[in-house]
């Protein structure tokens, strides 16, 4: 969690100057000096998960460019009642989380408030998708004992949601719920083509 917030602060600086503009965009790359982590040793369901898995908490390439980063914009006022910039389409109100090879895919995503989350499993072992807010309150915890099963739940109004699996403790995922979801792009090699969109308030 601490890592995620730290990355958010990096991105905040990039967009602050756009507060007075009607529209704008930010293009950039998140880099870090942090090193990648050692693989996670798997002790459960090795037939499905493998003997070890890469620790995806920090994913960087050879140039230090970071994947799975979320940038939070502050001090930007809304344009219209929907909180959208000109020319922006509302983000999908539905998203997907897949339990695959004992990892959440995608590991990080940004969705709009109250989006429906379709969680599914491709693994023939019991997974759970346990979604908790930062204060520890559980939004939902669904069992996915059968490969191919899909369960749909609402993600709630706002906040950073942590995903865990109660049968595979190393599994982590993040869903950032914000009105700013529209236009935010997350690439596997840093953030590019990121649109600066209004939050729900001046904060």
């Amino acid at each position: 969690m601490g890592r995620l917030l730290a990355l958010g602060i990096l991105g905040t600086v990039a967009c602050a100057s756009l507060a007075n503009a009607q529209t704008g965009s930010v293009t950039g790359t998140i880099t870090t000096t942090a090193k990648g982590l050692a693989p996670v040793r798997v002790t459960i369901d090795q037939k499905v998960c493998g003997a070890d898995l890469p620790d995806a908490a920090i994913v960087i390439d050879g140039q230090g460019r970071l994947a799975n980063a979320v940038v939070v914009l502050t001090g930007v006022k809304p344009f219209d009642s929907r909180g959208l910039a000109q020319g922006q389409r509302p983000a999908a109100t539905e998203t997907a989380i897949t339990n695959e090879k004992c990892a959440f895919a995608p590991r990080v995503q940004v969705v709009r408030p109250n989006a429906n989350v379709k969680t599914t499993s491709k693994d023939p072992v019991l997974h759970t998708t346990n979604a908790q807010l930062e204060n520890g309150r559980t939004l939902f915890n669904v069992a996915l004992p059968i490969a191919g099963l899909t369960v749909t739940k609402s993600i709630g109004p706002a906040g950073t949601v942590r995903l865990t699996c109660n049968t595979h403790p190393w599994m982590r995922g993040w869903v950032v719920v914000t009105l700013m979801a529209t236009g935010l792009r997350i690439r596997t090699r840093g953030i590019r083509d990121m649109y600066c969109l209004p939050p729900t308030s001046g904060n």
């Binding site: 037939k47 023939p124 019991l126 346990n130 908790q132 559980t138 915890n141 490969a147 109660n166 049968t167």
Partner: protein, 345 residues
């Protein structure tokens, strides 16, 4: 089991309830239901399903809700996921039956006979409970000052063996004697109860009990009877559809032969408004003592997610001899002290 190819491996897929238990539930609850696994993947210690005194008092409906909704559905840990989207109602019921099998001892009465406690009618199912039972009566006769009497019965109930329970009750009175209020202890009671019959297939239970009140209360102020009173009783319960039916018959046999016997009879009908442990339960009692009769509408509410704390409030209205009898507010605050009040973190 059926086989499923996964990558280069072939994995056996569970098809029966025991196989599903082994593949899914045993991760946390262990193959034998003890909750003791070598490498736990959750932070809370699961309930020990082999411990009959912990698991048997809960009705199937609560276990089914825990499986369907997950731990939060019954006020327990959110680390228990919900299976309502992956299992049918019949499969969930079958899991409960399988889980019941981890208790290897016979003779424990089924929790399906454990109905919500009425305020006055004695419950047939033995319990581990601590109770506060207040009664407030207000009398206002024309031409005289009004009087409000308050009493509080403090009751401790504890199970022993598989079907028995003992109970100790200490009543406190605070009565208005016009010139002054007086607070005293009444007749202390001790009791035992035994569930003689408890069906394992349909919710039906019959218990026998014997209560003895000791002459610890002041006779001349009305706080006691001045003699030991033996009170054998029978209590029964059943379900008709979604309705709880409970009844009790009791006779008071004073050791002093100059004091008249009294006959008490109580009947209760009620139903829950939802399946959650925090549900409201609406009920109605008829309470008779010799030729007197009261009707007691009441409402009960689970106060915590597990239902380990609950409260009830009712009003006891005289049906006969209304000019002589008063209306009383009655209720209880109940704590099932062996159950968790909330989820452990």
């Amino acid at each position: 089991m059926t086989a499923l190819t996964f990558g280069a491996q072939e994995l056996a897929q569970p098809t029966t309830i025991p196989e599903m238990w082994g593949a899914w539930c045993a991760r946390c609850h262990a193959d034998d239901g003890s909750g003791k696994v070598e490498e736990p993947t959750i932070t809370v210690e699961p309930m020990d399903f082999t411990d009959c005194k912990v698991t048997t008092p809960e009705p199937d409906a609560d276990w089914e809700r825990a499986i369907a909704k997950g731990g939060p559905g019954v006020g327990l840990s959110p680390e228990m996921p919900g299976f309502e989207d992956s299992l049918s109602a019949a499969q969930i019921s079958a899991f409960v039956l399988h889980m019941r099998g981890f208790c290897k001892e016979t003779g424990w009465p089924s929790g399906n006979n454990n109905f919500p406690r009425p305020i006055i009618t004695e419950k047939a199912f033995p319990e581990n409970e601590f109770l506060l039972l207040p009664v407030v009566s207000h009398e206002a006769e024309p031409g005289s000052a009004s009087a409000t009497d308050v009493s509080l019965n403090v009751v401790y109930e504890r199970r022993f063996g598989r079907r028995a329970m003992y109970e100790v009750g200490i009543p406190f009175y605070n009565w208005d004697f016009q010139t002054a209020r007086d607070t005293e202890i009444g007749d202390v009671s001790v009791a035992i109860k035994y569930a003689a019959y408890a069906s394992t297939t349909t919710p039906r239970i019959v218990s026998f009990g014997l209560e003895a009140t000791l002459p610890t209360g002041e006779l001349y102020k009305g706080f006691g009877k001045g003699t030991v009173v033996f009170e054998p009783y029978v209590a029964a319960g059943a379900m008709l559809g979604d309705w709880y039916i409970q009844a009790q018959g009791k006779v008071e046999l004073p050791a002093d032969s100059l004091i008249d016997r009294e006959y008490l009879y109580n009947a209760y009908v009620g139903r829950d408004t939802s399946a959650a442990p925090t549900t409201w339960t609406l009920g109605l009692e008829l309470n008779g003592e010799n030729r007197d009769l009261w009707i007691t509408p009441q409402v009960r509410k689970g106060l915590t997610g597990t239902g380990a704390l609950a409260a009830s409030l009712g009003v006891s209205i005289p049906v006969k001899y209304r000019g002589e009898k008063v209306v009383s507010w009655v209720g209880y605050l109940l704590w099932e002290f062996l159950e968790p009040l909330r989820a452990r973190r």
